[in-house]
Amino acid sequence: MNNRNNTISQGVDWTIIWLYAILVSIGILCIFMVEYRIDSNWLQSFLGGKTNYSKQLIFAGVCAIVATFILLTDSKLFTAFANLMYASGILLMLATFVLGKNINGSKSWIPIGGGFNLQPAELCKIFTALALAKFISRQETDFSKLRSQLIAGLIAAAPALLSILQHELGLALVYSAFLVAMYREGLPAQILIVGSSFAVLVVATLILDPNVLAISLTVIAGIILLLLRKQAKKSKRLMVLVVGIWLLCVGTQRFVVPYIFNNVLECYQSTRIYSMVGKEYDCSQNKKSERKAGEKAARKPDDYNVRQSKIAIGSGGLTGRGFLKGTQTRGKYVPEQHTDFIFTSLGEAFGFVGCFVFLCIYLFLLFRIVKIAERQRSTFSRVYAYSVASILFFHIAVNVSMTIGLFPIVGIPLPLISYGGSSLLTFTILIFVLLRLDADRQMVLR
């Protein structure tokens, strides 16, 4: 205890810190590219605190201080307070329903004065990761039991549910990243397989004509029964299983998916998902938009964002159009380019080479975190590390995929790159808590 206060850097993984610093710098550079005006003095505006990139610079400074503090703390703190923090996080999220400020249509921000707003859902990721790690690492938890798995799932699902209620679909989706961490701890692979099968079924429902899909599902079921007819004769249960799965699939395709799109999702969300597969969604079917029809006529949405985003990235070519030379960026063609679509400025300016190098940095970071996770002695640290890796991975994958048209548009920032104090702070805390835990890996935590 005594000597560690003298050398906080002892045992800290400097590779991650370097990667972190590089990514934050790239982020500020990207925001600078987006905000740059040819006639302005960039040095002045960097220091002025008026522009987004100078704000981001200030955020980065704050994060550096926070990071130092985290490295100075005792790693026991995190295990000790994990549940408490989780509880307060949930409380904060509930508080948004009362104190919340409406920004871009989602009521998930709490104003904290000075023009800054706090998004509790962001912070909740950390708390959830800690709480999950705490729960799984408990002596009495046997994660191979269904009960434990359900409780773990509930821990992750609670903030996700609250996010959906705040109209933050993207943030809610992030909580599904914890499945990866749980998988590592013994969650049956079938759940992941069933989950991804369901996703495939949903996409197929969107793309194909309902009747064609129903027929092809029936045909597949028939073929399976034909192949397994010998076994099916022996056991009735197999027969029932196949028919049951078939019924489930057709039911999903016929009733569940349309129900979700028409009754659960907002009109704009359905439209975005449909536009990704190249179809138009008829908003008149949407129950929620019906309800609001009196207030405001639904603007006819289109795929403008994705189109412009793809144009920006595509026009980069192999080596890009050069720093500050991208016309898509300079002409502000891509909406929300400094936050969710920050990847486009990179893709336009530095092309495929730039994107490739950039993604390699990310992948290296992820692999490094997984490696760190595997060298932990304590379950708590390992679960937490996997949570960090999967949260980062989920953000990167979804954000980049949505800018290149592989995923519908959901408001998920690119970690460490996108403009935004909450997001940067969240990822800083996530990573540096991990570093603190990793530095103390020799200590026997629980």
Partner: protein, 709 residues
């Protein structure tokens, strides 16, 4: 237990890697294999602005600019910046009402967007500009921008100079590879068309970056892809604008043309086509409507009658027949022919001859004796060396063609007609395969099937003046900065008539033509102290009226050159359906010649002549009928529309009311410019508002027309 799931760490890594590979795959697809995104980005962001150079200026022979550029102003508005505007006071200045203002702004936003500047009112009149310029600071979002427009300082020679218009799709199709775009202007007639490539200059392109609202952000790549505009070349013509103006004045209220050529160079001194129009009429803000008016005018003011109308040349053609006859030796100067009142050679009593008596060559020219030249023509065709009449016609045409007749001369104006020197085949339909000289006899006196343009006739006069050579008549002498296209090369080649024609023949014809003016048919057109050689022509003509061919008043022709010893001007004049050649065309020609040779008309008597001929009205009866018909049709339509309007008004008072207020002021701005300069005094025509502009609709007319819609 952790060891139990160790392998799953690897699987998680593999999942990460696979997803990243998918992303990179899509990036490869987007960035390396899709060209369309690069194009789409350029379409998005690069605004190509064409920089229009000033068109070249056209000068006359004394260096006076007769077609140049001037600055006009457009009222431009950026709709997004018009908040807090005093609409009422702006509308007061513009003479429109607020409803009209709102409608226009709405249309502009629809057409051009909310944040881009659009033209609210193009080509402001000077008065309007002055009014707006003082007050423009009061109107946020509005500004006045310059624009270069064509102007004709002398308001003359519209038919020669031509006009420019916005190109249409047909034009773009024809001139596919010349880089025209929709919205460009190009010369449509006259010199503006013929020398389009020279006058146009080279358009430049400036590339700008624009943002998502189409606002210009700055030059693209610092302008390395920009090209500079090169101004059009100025051209110097041989026209004498004062001569042109005098000609247009003399041809007031007549239909016809005057073409004068400098015989030594082939340069055209003036080319008047009557009725003409004020070329400035087609440059103002109302130019589209004005053009429509001119196009529908039954007097066809847009025609260039000097070049694009074919006339039977009448007796002026006798000079050519005489030259050919003397050259072939079918007659000599002492040959005599008797005129008993008609030509006796064919036994048909045609053609008639007016001055009875016995004629030798000189007097035959002087008195324009039809019998004499019919005899010459018949004798030429009957020569023994020709096996048939067909080959005789061929031989005659070889001579005639060498005078520049029967084919296009190659004047540097568009739409030139070739005229016709008939060949044997032209007669097969009428007379069968076997032709006799008597079938063709009316050609001898320039009637029948012989047709020339007035430029060809003036050129014949120049050839006689030069005694056997000419340069292709042309308007442009030189192009500033060099003639890169070789457009003027043809005008530097000296062309000769058939080499069998000796100079003595030209002298004899000149003697005869001098006699025409000294004591012959055109004696009243003699210019004191100037020896002019001329030849009158009086051409019978017919027109179809209500399906019946009716004889019309004669066309009056005169061809001349002067002075005889050192010819400086050769001229041809036609005045349609007026009188004998000696009575109208010859005096007009003599005035032009005097003006050119002396720079002014000398003597009170001659000056009085100018006024007298200016005031004469010779409007062809056919044209009068057409005008009357148009007028009555219009009145009929108006009455109908008035009736409809009344009915409409009963039904809905407001709608029509509003519009009529909105339209009225814009109509008023039309009035000052008279549409057709040479408007006849329409006394004989039943007209609602005599004295104003018959070619265009009058104010009241149009107002009703508009509102009823």
């Amino acid at each position: 237990m952790p060891v139990f799931n160790q392998s799953r760490g690897r699987i998680v890594q593999i999942i990460f890697a696979i997803v990243f590979l998918v992303i990179i795959g899509q990036l490869i697809n987007l960035q390396l294999f899709s060209v369309k995104y690069k194009l789409a980005a350029e379409n998005n962001a690069i605004l190509r602005k064409v920089v229009y150079p000033d068109r070249g200026i056209i000068f006359d022979r004394k260096g006076r600019a007769i077609l140049e550029n001037t600055i006009s102003y457009d009222l431009v508005v950026i709709p997004s910046e018009t908040k807090g505007l005093d609409t009422a006071s702006l509308c007061g200045l513009l003479n429109i009402d607020t409803a009209e203002y709102k409608k226009r702004i709405r249309d502009l936003i629809f057409k051009n967007g909310y944040v881009k500047p659009s033209v609210f009112e193009p080509l402001l009149t000077n008065e309007m500009f002055a009014r707006l310029n003082e007050n423009i600071y009061k109107f946020p979002g509005f500004s006045l921008t310059e624009r270069s427009v064509r102007t004709y300082p002398y308001s003359a020679a519209g038919n020669v100079l031509g006009y420019i218009r916005e190109v249409d799709t047909a034009y773009l199709r024809i001139h596919k590879d010349e880089g025209y775009q929709m919205g460009d202007y190009a010369g449509m007639t006259g010199l503006e068309r013929y020398y389009e490539k020279v006058l146009m200059g080279q358009r430049g392109v400036k590339n700008f970056i624009r943002d998502n609202k189409s606002r210009i952000q700055g030059p693209y790549e610092n302008g390395i892809y920009d090209t500079a505009a090169v101004a059009g070349k100025n051209i110097h013509t041989s026209l004498d604008v004062e001569l042109q103006k005098l000609g247009e004045k003399l041809m007031t209220n007549k239909v016809g043309s005057i073409v004068a050529i400098d015989p030594k160079t082939g340069g055209i001194l003036c080319m008047v086509s009557a009725p003409t129009y004020n070329p400035n009429y087609l440059t103002g803000s109302q130019n589209k409507r004005h053009l429509a008016d001119l196009l529908l005018d039954p007097r066809l003011p847009l025609n260039n009658r000097g070049l694009t109308t074919r006339y039977a040349p009448g007796s002026t053609f006798k000079t050519v027949v005489g030259i050919i006859g003397l050259t072939e030796g079918v007659v000599d100067l002492n040959t005599t022919v008797v005129c008993p009142g008609y030509f006796t050679g064919c036994g048909t009593g045609k053609p008639k001859c007016l001055d009875k008596g016995v004629f030798q060559f000189t007097d035959a020219v002087a008195h324009s004796d039809n019998s004499y030249f019919s005899t010459v023509y018949k004798r030429f065709l009957e020569q023994n060396k020709f096996p048939s009449t067909d080959s005789a016609i061929g031989a005659f045409n070889v001579y005639a063609n060498s005078f520049g007749l029967g084919h296009k001369l190659g004047v540097d104006l568009p739409f030139e007609k070739s005229g016709l020197i008939p060949t044997a085949s032209n007669y097969y339909k009428e007379f069968g395969r076997k032709l006799f000289p008597c079938n063709l006899i009316s050609n001898a006196i320039g009637q029948g099937k012989v047709e020339t343009t007035l430029v060809q006739l003036a050129n014949v006069m120049a050839i006689i003046a030069n005694k056997g050579w000419y340069y292709t008549p042309h308007l442009v002498d030189s192009i500033e900065g060099g003639d890169d296209e070789g457009l003027l090369d043809e005008f530097k080649i000296k062309r000769h008539t058939d080499n069998r024609i000796p100079e003595s023949v030209f002298n004899s014809v000149q003697d005869g033509m001098q006699a025409v003016v000294e004591y012959g048919t055109a004696v009243r057109s003699k210019i004191p102290d100037i020896i002019m050689c001329g030849k009158t022509g009086t051409v019978e003509n017919y027109a179809k009226v209500n399906g019946v061919m009716k004889k019309q008043p004669d066309h009056s022709f005169f061809g001349a050159f002067a002075p005889r010893d050192n010819p400086r001007i050769a001229i041809a004049v036609i005045c349609e359906n007026s009188d004998q050649g000696a009575r109208v065309a010859a005096p007009i020609a003599s005035l032009i010649v005097e003006k050119y040779l002396r720079d002014s008309i000398k003597g009170k008597e001659r000056q009085a002549m100018v006024e007298e001929y200016t005031n004469r009205v010779y409007l062809p009866p056919v044209m009068r009928m057409a005008i009357a018909k148009q007028d009555s049709l219009r009145r009929l339509r108006e009455n109908q529309q008035l009736l409809e309007q009344k009915l409409n008004k009963k039904e809905s008072d407001e709608g029509t009311d509003e519009e009529s207020i909105g339209e009225e002021p814009t109509e008023q701005s039309v009035t000052p410019a008279a549409p057709v300069k040479k408007a006849p005094q329409p006394k004989p025509l039943p007209k609602k508002k005599p004295g104003t502009t018959p070619a265009a609709l009058t104010n009241d007319d149009r107002k009703y027309k508009r509102t009823a819609r």
